[in-house]
Symmetry: C2
Subunit: 201 residues, 2 copies
């Protein structure tokens, strides 16, 4: 596509760096911005810059935060005894949205992945071990994706913290709610049978 | 979705204003930006602000431009006698990409649409009439979308400039290249028969 304006071309180039946004979509977004009031575009730009300049990583759990300690870690109403280990911030939010977890979190910042050159030392695993030793933590709930990387990371963490004597749990794997058995994959179905739970009447 | 950080929440809010981008996609984009170097995010933000502060609308044709007169209008190699009328900048680019048009453009900035409250006075139609009178223009090529709004706008412009004696043409409507007759809609197929062209051997 030929763009006659360098300014438009620069903006398209910058926006098409986003995952899932190609040149055409980027151009559509630029066209949209051209029609919006200047104030709105400036507000957008400022909010993006603030992401890099004003945002902290919580000193305790590694969650993104407006303060040094995030709103979850500083909330005394939450259960201090259970820590849920997640890959990143979006997983944390997904779990928060369920309203089923009242403890605290620990954000790893990724998963162990030899393919991408990410080892245990690149993740916030040591700080988790320190938290278990310092705080009075009774349970570590591992809530990582059911992938090779997720399983590897869970295994690594479990081995690392086993000696502290903390209880280690992991979120249930099974048929998703609303899912039909006929269409479930064999591994999930197999696991859901192995890990069957007592039916409550 | 519950976002614990106000800064993240503001960025998600701003990004989800884009057409076709919902809260979830906006959050994915924010997650992506959090992992990018600060310089890259600043460059993105600056390029967006520049769209509103440094960009001109070409005084002659209404195209977006880095200068007061756009690169197409100031290119003396282009044919000054034919002016292609388009709805907006993205249509202009689509036509430029074909490499089949060597004349100049006139960007209306929209189409007449009573439903959206857009009348002829909201578009760059008077400046087109002035151009025809001032410059030595022989042909006006109407390249507007084949919609009710497009047809209305073409009809309005054609009536408005008829008296100037300029030749008025319109891009061909018909079966798209690679299209199968069986699947073409009746109106398009009907028009392609009415407007049949001589077969060149």
């Amino acid at each position: 596509m030929q763009i006659s304006s360098q300014i438009v071309s620069d903006a398209v180039e910058a926006l098409s760096g986003f995952p899932g946004i190609g040149k055409r979509t980027a151009l559509r977004l630029v066209m949209y911005l051209l029609k919006r009031p200047e104030m709105e575009v400036v507000r957008l730009a400022e909010s993006l810059i603030k992401l890099k300049t004003d945002l902290f990583l919580c000193k305790s759990c590694g969650n993104v935060s407006d303060e040094e300690i995030c709103s979850i870690c500083s909330n005394h109403a939450r259960n201090n005894g259970v820590v849920c280990v997640v890959e990143d911030f979006s997983d944390l939010m997904a779990i928060e949205s369920t309203n089923q977890f009242g403890g605290r979190y620990h954000v790893l910042g990724g998963l162990i992945s030899p393919m991408e050159g990410i080892g245990p030392d690149d993740l916030n695993i040591m700080s988790l071990v320190n938290r278990i030793e310092q705080d009075n933590i009774q349970e570590i709930l591992l809530a990582l994706s059911a992938t090779v990387e997720g399983d590897t990371t869970m295994f690594y963490i479990a081995k690392k913290i086993k000696d502290t004597g903390v209880k280690i749990t992991c979120i249930a794997r099974g048929i998703s709610v609303g899912g039909e058995i006929e269409y479930a994959d064999e591994i999930t179905l197999g696991r859901s049978i192995l890990q069957r739970t007592e039916y409550q009447v």
